[in-house]
Symmetry: none
Subunit: 219 residues, 4 copies
Amino acid sequence: MSHKPEIKIPASQDATRQQLLGAAGEVFAEVGFRNATVREICRRAGANIAAINYHFGDKEKLYAEVLRYAHTRALEKYPAFQGVAADATAEQKLRAFVHSFLLRIFDDSPTACHGKLMSREMIEPTAALDSLVEEFIRPMAGQLWKIVADILGCPLNDERVRLCAFSVVSQCVFYHHCGPVVSRLSGRPAADAAAIEKLAAHITKFSLAAMKNFSDKKR
Amino acid sequence: MSHKPEIKIPASQDATRQQLLGAAGEVFAEVGFRNATVREICRRAGANIAAINYHFGDKEKLYAEVLRYAHTRALEKYPAFQGVAADATAEQKLRAFVHSFLLRIFDDSPTACHGKLMSREMIEPTAALDSLVEEFIRPMAGQLWKIVADILGCPLNDERVRLCAFSVVSQCVFYHHCGPVVSRLSGRPAADAAAIEKLAAHITKFSLAAMKNFSDKKR
Amino acid sequence: MSHKPEIKIPASQDATRQQLLGAAGEVFAEVGFRNATVREICRRAGANIAAINYHFGDKEKLYAEVLRYAHTRALEKYPAFQGVAADATAEQKLRAFVHSFLLRIFDDSPTACHGKLMSREMIEPTAALDSLVEEFIRPMAGQLWKIVADILGCPLNDERVRLCAFSVVSQCVFYHHCGPVVSRLSGRPAADAAAIEKLAAHITKFSLAAMKNFSDKKR
Amino acid sequence: MSHKPEIKIPASQDATRQQLLGAAGEVFAEVGFRNATVREICRRAGANIAAINYHFGDKEKLYAEVLRYAHTRALEKYPAFQGVAADATAEQKLRAFVHSFLLRIFDDSPTACHGKLMSREMIEPTAALDSLVEEFIRPMAGQLWKIVADILGCPLNDERVRLCAFSVVSQCVFYHHCGPVVSRLSGRPAADAAAIEKLAAHITKFSLAAMKNFSDKKR
DNA sequence: TATGAATGAGCCTTCATTCAT
DNA sequence: AATGAATGAAGGCTCATTCAT
């Protein structure tokens, strides 16, 4: 409010764009696309109310960019196989995959909104979801399928590979998406780093135990 | 609020209330609480635009009632252990639990909205969630914990019981909540009765395999 | 501005609708459809800003209704052959037609806006013009064609009938539509009742003189 | 971007100005002053969005220049007495005047916008109209008055001269200004060269017939 | 009791204009 | 000299809610 003229000086084109992407990510994550107001986004970005239309065309196009931006950042920050050698065992890779998946989804630093945005996208998919699946999610699914096929000893396109992979992912997603119920049932609040660690251990153990005993049993 | 002069046929008064509950369930499920308009709800219910405020006070109180109503109906329609004897094995009970859970969550008949409402409630919990958990979800969790404890051979309050129960439920919830991604990845549309049957079989098999091999392995 | 509580009491549905039609007519006539603001219309109508959407759907539908309303009123107020017997001569009918046409078009009482609305409609025709022509203008053109055909001694569908009728109407329209130039050239302001009388006399005389001498001359 | 060392042809500066005048003429003619956006004008002119303010001060001053520019061009392209000798008869001069008037007003080549701009100016006169009348329209009216006075055999300042001249011009203007109604009534689209020729013939014939029979009749 | 006309805050978007570069 | 990012007022429209009937 006072002078702070320096805040406006660096306002090069890209700076404002970036501020808007960040602020929009926060707001969309907090209240969803529809409930988010451009006023609030611009306010947080320190930009004029017309800035969104100027830089992105409209609110919807901004949202699409935010979604891509959030995904890109999340994958850069938490690569799927961080700290795992290329020749590691499938079990080791699974553990890493689950752990980084959880870290990615639970990161609630102000700049991270990937998890929440995806949760909302699941409930009300937008036009942006199609390309998001092809660009980010399908490749990641492919990585998991390889690991699972290896563990099961199945060909990659066996239906059981898909089913077991979904069973793995479902456990990761669950604690994030059903957080409100999980925390009410367990009496504990959201997940911290230690809890995530523990969760990753359980999911990996549970899933490996299941898959090791899987192939030789018919339903 | 006062006495409800009792004698009254279940007539007009209650009829409108009921119509509103039904219509509101549909609309809230389709577009969420915020995006739902009282005009549309009243239109579908064949009621006056002021009917919601008259019968329920405001939109939010209507929503809370819809949530309870939807849960009650869903549990009546798909009891947790339908067709399973009280002395059935834990495995049989688990199978029944999973199957009815899936049926409940995937029922998309116009009068059923329990699944969609819960999905939305996970993302933006309302004040109604607290009582919902206590009244409906905790009892159901208790039932599952018993089964899991039996299978694991653990005491009921062992942490592994909670974790494994979550692992079971997470798989059930996943196909519903992440439907938009699952269908895009698999190329198949939503779930029909046969698919649900198959899903129930997989989840049960996967979970039993995991839990059978669980206790004797360290992570 | 002061109390005038009685202004709001009679605010039955139709009263507000009527107020809006009147106010909208004024505003649309003054500044055109696009430049007219719903805020100003509602202000003049003593109505809430949402009243237009409530009663008419949107600004455009309001405009269409205003156009029809203004036409209907103008034709009621100034019938084409007021004070002329059914068996009057074609010359007498022409004189009456021209006179009432001018009166209609120049009426600038606050409730009359027909003339200005039509002028604007000529420059930027809206979707409403089509039905307006069929419903109001074509019947009136038919009346004039009969008179002209009678004077020329031509069959009704002779091309000269159309051309001469247009020549008559063009003179009526001109003083209204080109008022800004006419008044600047002649130094006189807009038209009062006496001026209209004189104008009607000239146009009738000019046109009759032309048509009397018309048929027997080749160009 | 680099230096463009001064020598500079009358180029860029004036070139941009000229482009803006042309583009603005088009846009103002198409959608009117208020609905025209500086963005669209600059886009069509291949100029920067700030170019209008830079070269003309603001949108309104640009409009005034466009109006003068369009008039000048229209009069250069269609002189009032093209192809008519100085000693031609008044009838011949009238014919030429009417024809060139129609050509001027109906020219809808992209660079011509005189007719449409004037139509709009009639409905919402701007400050630019005053000087436009003095500079372009009054001289032209003077020319017509002379012709008409000659035909009527009246002194130049006789009121009948004004009235008859208006009657002539009104017919020319009518087909342009009321085009939307004329075309709907006649089923024919806008005017091509042949139609204009025919129109000129009719207007001249009608007007001459009227004026020849005029002076000796009192109303 | 039940209605529906009326309310006014708030939404996204558009626009001419400005100003630092 | 010329740019284009940024501005902020104002536009049409939607909505849950109220209140006189």
